[in-house]
Assembly symmetry: C2
Homo-oligomer: 427 residues x 2
């Protein structure tokens, strides 16, 4: 492939003709491919099929509590212990929820907004100002939706390969007391796949000192153990860092087994300071009779401890790695050194983020759709769907088959090339 | 036992002495009995122990959807069909939730308050007035807590053996447009055990015409199939009545399998008009990745259809009926024709409500506690804990053993007698 900035107009015109032909041949195939779905494939789900039936008549936790009955708002002791290992915190810093961490995130933001983490007077909506959250971009659209659903405004913050731009984060927090939260996916970030550097984690742990007692970091560590290989970059332990600075109350960690066992029938949890956990449990009393404790026990029997979880994740990696490698190979072969876009090659998580030339993301998504490849809508990774440069496209290669990913990526690359060449010709 | 109004002062004094002796002998036994817990006993929970392992490798619904994965906010088709039979509605009028109906109730009230059932402008909190709900009393404290948690004021409404006083309900609704809801437990009401009469159900179905399009009946049919015997009174179908009056939007029915299968790991559902269901599902999108669909499938395999549910409930009845009969027997033997209190003898549900002489409920609960019998706090069955007559005491006989219930009820009756005699003597 040509380098865009070194191509002559004649070369570009020639290339456009051949790309157009290729594109039209894809269109004629009437394909129906989908790279939008950040969910496990069925081979992955099969890995956890021991869950149903694993109880074998055991229905009590180690305290003798009958888990079939009501109660236990904060989860069973064994599950707290298990997931505390995954979160890198103490068991008493964990509460276990139902089958989805999104619900726990929504509930936590709502608690901060309406009930307060430090008593009623600390509720954010007691303040006479619009509440705001920082949204490192590109980010996860469902985080943004939690905020817009609750009337919270989002301020985008730049990110690079180390995580959010911490200078910008600190400046914004110093300047504006209405900012009460920041969304983070610190390991294998959705969608860029980056892992926050040790320095970023350390500066995050100090934000509580800058932003005051009512600020919270919403640390969605959704891909905590979701590596493609052993050498994948590690994430520093934020709670350990917070303990150094006395800012344990400033961070709320979320996690789940959704992409470890079953996406729809896993176990989600919150890890935070005992004070935050107490505020959350208190606010749960009017809402819930307690989560499904039997499913917690199933997970304890199946996942056992962090080592067992890591062994289990290697099976996921064996299924997922070839899918990611196809994406990387196709991108490299079609776009390396062309000046038509950039991307990361994460060693874990569920996504690859591609950045096109400015102003082309929407066009590429549209071209792909018309050739039978569904992509996440351009802009979806930004608050209010507004990607100011119109560059970011999220690719989700976990769910389709290898053959489908290969085909879809071939078409995607052609669309990037075609859109880039056309833009250059029109310039 | 004496009739209180026919006893001479001398007889009363003599009786007080012997009751005192009896009471003190109970105190000396150092008992620790509990009639507060409206939850199934372990023998009942055992009835559903086929659930874990029932899937036997089947993870798809009848549309071929893999239920282990994300999605399906409104539940699987088979579960809608199953619970629509229980709710007496059409399958398309059902959405399936997680393991608790309380969460669905809280969510529904929140939807009315913050998002509206008829578009954003219909949200109750758009109105410049404090929102109110009617609370038939005595009622269920967790209903009241949902409202107080969301800043909704409660107006008590009288009930009798036919249900809420519908004259009062209609008058209140005509007079005050800030009343947006009413709580109902229409069959084997918590705590009185009464079943709403056909006339009450019919007038309920017409409230939508009086109160306008933003009013909702929160119809918590928690004990829909929870009978102690075949001859238990039936409840008229409210949705059928609503169809006659064109008020299908005015009622939201709640139910669950919590007291059919597992209290902590059952399946809860909402039944309402397609328009209400659509509003609820829309409001669920920012909050949830969908309920645990595998547990829905487990319940479909286990409970099958309404006939199978009814057969299953007979097994519960066999366990529960002797417990209720002890309560009734002890009350009759100790308090019939004494003028010391009244009670219903429900043929289903989880509770018996006892009404003492005015001003004695707190005293009786206190006396019982001091003799080792824990009762639900007096006042708990009224909004804000305020039972104006101080008469209502909720008895929950499902969880303790037969022996414990017998002992607890013997002590309870003694406490009622003692408090009543003392009150009479002091008058």
């Amino acid at each position: 492939m040509l380098r865009l900035d070194q191509a002559t107009p004649a070369q570009l015109r020639e290339l456009e003709v051949s790309l157009n032909e290729q594109y039209q041949s894809f269109q004629q195939q009437g394909l129906n491919l989908d790279l939008t779905r950040g969910k496990p494939n069925s081979e992955q789900l099969d890995l956890s099929d021991q869950l149903d039936g694993i109880l074998k008549g055991n229905y009590s936790d180690r305290n003798g509590t009958d888990l079939r009955n009501y109660g236990g708002l904060d989860g069973i002791p064994e599950a707290k212990e298990l997931f505390s290992q995954m979160a890198g915190v103490r068991p008493e810093e964990v509460m276990i929820g139902g089958n989805g961490s999104l619900e726990l995130m929504h509930f936590s933001v709502e608690t901060g907004l309406q009930n307060g983490f430090n008593g009623e007077d600390s509720a954010w909506n007691k303040e006479e100002q619009t509440i705001k959250f920082l949204a490192p971009v590109p980010g996860y659209d469902r985080h943004f939706t939690v905020c817009t659903h609750l009337g919270i405004e989002l301020i985008p913050v730049a990110t690079d390969e180390n995580g959010p731009d911490m200078d910008q984060v600190e400046q914004l927090l110093k300047a504006d007391s209405s900012i009460k939260g920041i969304w983070c996916v610190p390991r294998f970030s959705n969608p860029t796949g980056i892992v926050y550097s040790d320095e970023v984690v350390d500066r995050m742990a100090q934000l509580g000192k800058i932003a005051g007692p009512n600020f919270r970091i919403f640390w969605d560590n959704a891909y905590a153990v979701h590596t493609l290989e052993d050498s994948a970059p590690e994430l520093a332990n934020i709670m350990d860092a917070c303990r150094q600075y006395g800012t344990e109350d400033s961070v709320i960690i979320f996690g789940s087994s959704s992409k470890i066992t079953y996406a729809g029938a896993g176990v989600a949890f919150i890890a935070s300071s005992p004070s935050n956990i107490a505020a959350l449990v208190k606010n749960l009393i009017p809402v819930s009779i307690g989560p499904d404790k039997l499913n917690q026990l199933r997970h304890v029997y199946f996942l056992k401890d962090l080592d067992t979880i890591k062994q289990h994740m290697k099976k996921h990696a064996a299924i997922l790695k070839p899918r990611f490698e196809i994406v990387y190979k196709t991108l490299r072969e079609g776009l390396s050194d062309t000046g038509m876009g950039t991307w990361n090659e994460p060693r874990g998580g569920y996504f690859v983020a591609f950045d096109s030339l400015p102003g082309l993301a929407r066009e590429i998504v549209k071209l792909a759709a018309e050739a039978g490849v569904k992509l996440t809508p351009a802009g979806a990774t930004f608050p209010y769907g507004n990607d100011p440069q119109d560059t970011n496209i999220r690719l989700a290669p976990t769910f389709p088959s290898l053959v489908d990913i290969e085909k879809a990526m071939e078409i995607f690359v052609t669309c990037v090339q075609l859109a880039s060449v056309r833009q250059k010709l029109a310039a």
